[in-house]
């Protein structure tokens, strides 16, 4: 409609219009710079030698020296922390989808007493500071032998990820008409076959996206990880534990190691971000 309006407006308005457009794109550019420049600066530090990192003044250009990253990679405990981070995140991914997706399916396909109670339970998780769960669970885990294990931490991260998994899978399943499943049933499929052959292929990309999202939640979580692990630290827990004793170049290389995978994850799920949060509104 604005395109139609711009064809028959008089010239002075047009110049005001183009000034508006200029301002609009200036804002877009500024916000992009606001997001990207700090990341760029972190990368500059990560790609410079330790001497350049603590040197002054800085030029703002990377030295393309990998000795900081090498130092980080060979620093004792880093390799193990990275491995633990991946392990915990994968467990979180599997647990939250495995537990959350059936619930999402049930919410989207059935009307039954108690549905609202369950919805409330899921929504309520968002009114609670979830990382604090780590405090009481630390004791429970010591009693059950789950303390300082990847599984124990993954259970806490799953609590963080499950509300998203349930709500996202709920919206994914709701987008697929029930008639398609019913058609499969009339053609002789039972409920499980109908689900596996008709619904599953259609929701798989969305499920994968929400799995990546669960992975990211776990990958980034600091507080519970720092409380619940001692020997088997994840990368964020390892970094926060060593912050006040580590040299600058170690911090920045560690920061880059946290940021780069996150950039890839967000790129991978960018199409689904809005579907995810659209449903989170209701």
């Amino acid at each position: 409609m604005s395109a139609a309006a711009s064809t028959d407006v008089p010239a002075p308005v047009k110049s005001a219009h183009s000034a508006g457009r200029f301002l609009f794109w200036a804002c877009v550019f500024l916000i992009c710079a606001w997001v990207l420049v700090p990341i760029y600066l972190l990368m500059v530090n990560a790609l410079s030698s330790p001497e350049q990192v603590s040197g002054f003044p800085k030029s703002g250009l990377p030295g393309f020296d990998f000795s900081s990253l090498q130092f980080f990679a060979s620093f004792s405990g880093v390799g193990r922390a990275l491995w633990n981070s991946v392990l915990v995140a994968v467990l979180t991914m599997v647990l939250s989808i495995g537990i959350g997706a059936p619930a999402g399916y049930a919410l989207s396909r059935f009307e039954f007493p108690g549905k609202e109670v369950f919805r409330m339970l899921v929504v309520m998780t968002r009114a609670f500071p979830l990382p604090l769960l780590a405090l009481p669970l630390a004791v429970m885990f010591i009693r059950t032998g789950l303390d300082d294990t990847a599984l124990g931490l993954a259970l806490v991260h799953t609590v963080l990820a499950i509300p998203f998994a349930v709500l996202i899978t709920f919206s994914l399943f709701s987008a697929i008409p029930l008639e398609m499943e019913e058609a499969a049933w009339t053609l002789g499929c039972n409920r499980w076959q109908g689900f596996r052959k008709v619904v599953l292929p259609l929701v798989l990309p969305g499920i994968a996206a929400s799995a990546v999202f669960a992975f990211t939640i776990s990958w980034n979580e600091v507080f519970a990880a720092a409380v619940l692990t001692i020997e088997n630290r994840t990368l964020p827990a390892f970094l926060i534990q060593n912050l006040n004793v580590s040299p600058l170049h170690l911090k920045f290389a560690g920061g880059a190691a946290l940021v780069v995978p996150a950039l890839v994850f967000i790129f991978a799920v960018r199409k689904y971000l809005f579907a995810m949060w659209g449903i989170a509104n209701r």
Binding site: M1, F24, V28, C32, W34, V35, L36, P38, L41, L42, V53, S54, F56, P57, K58, S59, I99, A103, A106, F112, L121, T125, R126, A127, P129, L130, L132, L133, L135, P136, L137, V156, T158, V159, I162, V166, N220, V222, F223, A226, P236, L239, I240, L243, F252, G255, L258, V259, A262, L263, I266, F267, R270, L273, F274, A275, G278, A280, N281, R282
Partner: protein
């Protein structure tokens, strides 16, 4: 018969999981905070309240949330408006805007440390412009307000994206006809934003604000990365009592305080931004 049992079977794992790992631990926190060695006692709460760091930690946490959240709300609304107006390059710009969504608070703290530390980029720039003769120690304990400012910037930088994404999907739900009607009646862009977009956005604003405010109360790693323990916050004190001081009961008392202000904030936003009955889209 199967259709009656099946939904419950599907919900069972999630329900059991949330009861064991969500409901039970929070009950346990409340119990721990008011007991000592198995007996009922207000001592943990008393220790917490009388410790000199408690009031400052609570104060800084609340101040941080009070400064960060309104700025983020304004920025997120502008960014969401920009995104919904975009025609060319929407996907690329949306991706760039939502990048911080995937970053942890620790990473954000380290990113801003690169800018604010003594040999960092801010000092380099000021030096290059001739403003300072030698690098300033921005993040020292005598500059607590600079630390605060750095934390504010890092929080705004990292966590505005989540609000934006919620608001963008909320704006997508507002019917186009409403804007056309507004235009017909002569409302300008700003008036349409205030009289149509904002009221229609209430549910999204509500969830965005609740989510962000609660996360602001949980601020921890950003502060640790930028200020060490110079700027005390509630979550950092909780961690301290749990780990350095090895007192789980006092740590739980802190947790209870965070929980209390979180619930208070949630109820506040639910009440202030409630959607009138029968006024949904």
């Amino acid at each position: 018969m199967q259709a009656k049992v099946l939904p419950y079977l599907l919900l069972l794992p999630a329900t059991v999981f949330l009861l064991v790992f969500f409901v039970y631990p929070f009950v346990e926190i409340a119990i721990l905070a008011v007991t000592r060695d198995g007996g009922l006692s207000l001592q943990p709460l008393a220790i917490m309240a009388s410790h000199w760091k408690f009031a400052t930690a609570l104060g800084w946490t609340l101040l941080l949330a009070a400064v960060v959240v309104p700025i983020q709300l304004a920025m997120a609304l502008s960014m969401a408006t920009i995104v919904t107006k975009l025609k060319t390059g929407r996907n690329t710009i949306l991706y760039i805007f939502s990048i911080p969504l995937g970053l942890s608070d620790l990473a954000a703290g380290i990113v801003w440390l690169a800018i604010f530390e003594q040999s960092g980029f801010l000092n380099s720039m000021l030096f290059g412009l001739g403003v300072v003769e030698q690098p300033i120690l921005f993040l020292g304990y005598q500059n607590i307000w600079v630390i605060f400012l750095a934390v504010v910037l890092a929080e705004i930088w990292r966590a505005t994206a989540i609000m934006m994404v919620i608001l963008v999907s909320g704006m997508g739900l507002v019917p186009k006809e409403y804007y056309e009607a507004g235009e017909v009646f002569g409302a300008n862009g700003w008036q349409r934003f205030v009289k149509i977009t904002l009221p229609m956005l209430r549910p999204s604003l509500q969830s965005a604000l609740i989510l962000r405010t609660l996360a602001a109360f949980e601020v921890f790693a950003v502060v640790t990365a930028l200020g060490g323990t110079t700027l005390p916050v509630l979550m950092g004190e909780t961690y301290n009592w749990q780990f350095a001081l090895q007192d789980r009961n006092v740590a739980s008392a802190y947790a209870l305080v965070i929980l209390a202000i979180s619930i208070a904030a949630t109820l506040f936003f639910l009440r202030v931004l409630r959607v009138p009955k029968g006024a949904t889209i």
